[in-house]
């Protein structure tokens, strides 16, 4: 039993955090909202240089051969800066899926994923919209139990605007006559694994988003004065933030356990992921609610940065399965006859 991250994992997290916090400033995010694609090839190139695009690509294909446990802390940091680039999908969802699909497709694309030459995006039927389909060099798409491997030109995109201007969401239509690459039971297994990975990515980002909203709020309420005192010194303001800190603190271990379950392909991965996503997204939603409240009218403006993180938190809560979908996973396990519950059952 060792529920800790290694020195290396923590050091990697530190260096990625430093990089992201320096590079992905709110100003840069705002600039991205105005561009055509909303995505920044130069930044992607920097990720490639840091090894991030190939982090989960096997070493024989030029990557670092790491897994979900290695990546989960980095995904948290992506959340902390509200990263718009599709790194989490690429590294945590699409590349492992491509590996699972294997064969020529994997042999051809994994090296390109590693070098960052290709952005790979995965999506399943459960996703109403496909985020970043417009910049996918390879789109791995599940529809009605069939998987398609699509390059630009093999599918059409219709954008639907999100309240989060950083998100680029598309309804995707596969070109008629395109042959699926996987079908049947194996396709379903891939879909289940893909959903777990997608939801895990949301959960990890939600942790980072919640932390960022706490940090913004603590800073704002220390500076802002009312009735002659910093508003952060009022007990009601403190307790709003403390309540977020409590929920966030207890959402972390579930997310890390879910990463482990996903990395190990454990039988309980769907439950672990459902728990992680419910706890983390709830913490992030509470962070949003209490942060806007302690920001007062400033929090309601476009100018203050809070809304950047708040809107992403709202969106992630409903992406890769909304609360109802994940509660369904939980209910299916805990209300079943002979469910293993209670003391001692957690790691069985």
């Amino acid at each position: 039993m060792d529920f800790t991250f290694s020195e290396d994992q923590l050091l990697f997290q530190d260096s990625v955090r430093d990089f992201l916090v320096n590079e992905i400033t709110p100003e840069r995010l705002r600039a991205g909202w105005e561009t055509d694609t909303g995505r920044d090839p130069a930044l992607w190139q920097q990720f490639a240089e840091l090894g991030l695009t190939g982090i989960t690509v096997p070493e024989e294909h030029g990557g670092l051969g790491m897994d979900a446990v290695d990546f989960v802390l980095l995904a948290q940091e992506c959340g902390y800066v509200a990263l718009a680039e599709p790194l989490v999908n690429h590294a945590l969802v699409a590349v492992p899926l491509l590996q699972d699909i294997g064969g020529e497709l994997a042999a051809r694309w994994l090296p390109l994923a590693a070098t960052g030459e290709a952005r790979i995006i995965a999506a399943v039927e459960q996703n109403l919209m496909v985020e970043d389909a417009h910049v996918a060099d390879l789109l791995l798409l599940e529809r009605e139990g069939q998987w398609f491997a699509l390059e630009q030109g093999q599918f059409s995109c219709e954008r639907s605007e999100s309240i989060d201007p950083a998100r680029r969401l598309y309804s995707v239509t596969v070109q008629a006559g395109t042959a699926p690459i996987v079908e049947g039971a194996r396709a379903n297994a891939l879909r289940a694994a893909c959903l777990n990975r997608g939801a895990l990515g949301c959960a990890a980002q939600a942790l980072g988003l919640a932390q960022r909203m706490i940090d913004l709020s603590v800073q704002y309420t220390a500076e802002r004065k009312q009735f002659g005192k910093a508003i952060g010194s009022f007990q009601a303001v403190k307790h709003h933030m403390a309540n977020v800190a409590v929920r966030l603190e207890y959402a972390k271990a579930p997310v890390h356990r879910a990463a482990y379950a996903v990395a190990e392909d454990a039988s309980g991965a769907a439950l672990a992921v459902a728990q992680a996503k419910l706890m983390a997204c709830e913490a992030a939603n509470l962070a949003a609610k209490n942060s806007i409240q302690v920001h007062g009218a400033m929090g309601y403006t476009w100018e203050v940065d809070l809304h950047i993180f708040m809107k992403k938190a709202w969106a992630l809560a409903n992406t890769w399965g909304d609360a109802g979908w994940h509660k369904q996973q939980v209910a299916a396990v805990i209300f079943a006859d002979g469910a293993a519950l209670g003391a001692g059952a957690t790691f069985q």
């Binding site: 639907s160 009601a236 007062g296 909304d322 209910a331």
Partner: protein
């Protein structure tokens, strides 16, 4: 106790219902946070006024109908039921209008009230200042009396709809040595006066729902003062009293949201049923909205019989703002992956105005005195807890 409407009240309901059926635009207007939408809403105010439905609680002599509170509640029920446009001039009609009637000179009433009623003059509010927030007594903008002019300098902020409004009513410090509530004066300012700069503040949806207003030696005639010099606090309190009262948050608004939420839930029950929180929240929305309505009627009847609104009115703001936020949060949960989509997005089927409402509901617990301040007031003034 007699919980049924009189024949007269029923007739009134029938009259406004049929007028609205005939007059409410078939296409929803654009939001008044855009210039075009603002103009559309201004025209709607004129239409309402032509039907004498614009300011039903005003006296008949001023173009109103002299409605009592129960009739006003009925009017609001029909208005929301008909999905009639939001009132772009509510600052004028519900806040400044009654204040003018109480404190204005005859000349001021004649000058401002009809233009307000017709939608010609749309009014913005100038209370908050940077660094003052809910603490109105901390106002620092000045108005210096020179001859028959006030020379205004300073800054106001969070002025709703001020980007396209015509006038501002606000509070300025006329005695530079005064502190807190003393030495403030209530002044009406045309927003096209030289020296005024209006800077739009984009809100959560990116639209300029409010503005900062900068005053640089702005000259305003002394005849634009409402009440006496230095007596602004008393005048403003009357306005704030109205604001915190019933007029701006009629139960009908929340009951219609609750009704739509029940509809949304039923239309999406297959997916929503997986989250028991949703069903619970939908039922609670109905119960709370109904309770808000019942409590409002009870208060209205008490006031009609000479009762006074007491400290318990501070509970009002907390109750409706949390209800509104909860209802919209529930709608977001029901909509799931569609919740984040803008109404015009191709995939936004069934989303309607829920996202806009959700964003707007975020402001409820914040503006006009945050809910934290309201809780302090309840504890100290209603329950008598120590300061």
């Amino acid at each position: 106790m007699q919980l049924a409407f009189t024949e007269q009240q029923q007739a009134f309901r029938a009259e406004i219902r049929s007028w609205l059926q005939a007059n409410v635009p078939a296409q929803p207007l654009q939001t008044f946070d855009t210039e075009e939408g603002f103009q559309q809403h201004r025209e709607w105010e004129a239409t309402l006024n032509q039907g004498r439905w614009g300011m039903v609680t005003w006296p008949e002599a001023l173009g109103g109908r002299g409605c009592d509170l129960i009739e006003w509640l009925i009017f609001e029920e029909e208005y929301y039921r008909a999905r009639a446009p939001l009132r772009v001039n509510q600052n004028g009609i519900f806040l400044l209008g009654p204040t003018l009637m109480e404190y204005g000179t005859e000349e001021q009433k004649a000058r401002f009230l009809p233009a307000m009623a017709e939608g010609r003059d749309v009014w913005a509010q100038g209370w908050s200042e940077p660094g003052a927030g809910s603490d109105m007594a901390a106002i620092r903008s000045t108005a210096q009396l020179e001859g028959d002019k006030y020379i205004i300098n300073g800054q106001k902020t969070w002025s709703t709809r001020a980007v396209w409004a015509d006038w501002l009513f606000g509070m300025f410090r006329t005695d530079p040595d005064s502190e807190r509530h003393r030495g403030l004066t209530f002044i009406l300012v045309p927003l096209n006066t030289p020296g005024i700069t209006v800077r739009p503040i984009p809100q959560l949806d990116g639209l300029p729902g409010f503005a900062e207003i900068f005053f640089d030696n702005v000259e305003v005639d002394v005849s634009n003062r409402l009440g006496d010099d230095g007596a602004g606090w008393a005048v403003a309190m009357a306005t704030a009293g109205f604001e915190r009262g019933l007029m701006l948050r009629s139960p009908a608004r929340f009951q219609e949201t609750a009704r739509r939420l029940v509809e949304l839930y039923r239309a999406n029950e297959a997916s929503a049923s997986h989250d028991p929180q949703i069903r619970e929240a939908v039922m609670r929305a109905y119960l709370d909205a109904e309770s808000y309505c019942l409590s409002t009627y009870q208060t209205a009847c008490r006031l009609s019989q000479g009762g006074k609104i007491g400290a318990e009115s501070s509970t009002n703001k907390i109750f409706w703002s949390e209800l509104d936020q909860n209802m919209h949060a529930t709608a977001m949960s029901i909509l799931g992956a569609r919740a984040e989509l803008l109404a015009h997005a191709p995939a936004a089927e069934g989303v309607g105005t829920w996202l806009d409402g959700w964003l707007f509901s975020q402001s409820g617990p914040i503006y006009a005195g945050t809910n934290e301040i309201q809780r302090n007031i309840i504890a100290e003034r209603m329950l008598g807890m120590p300061r």
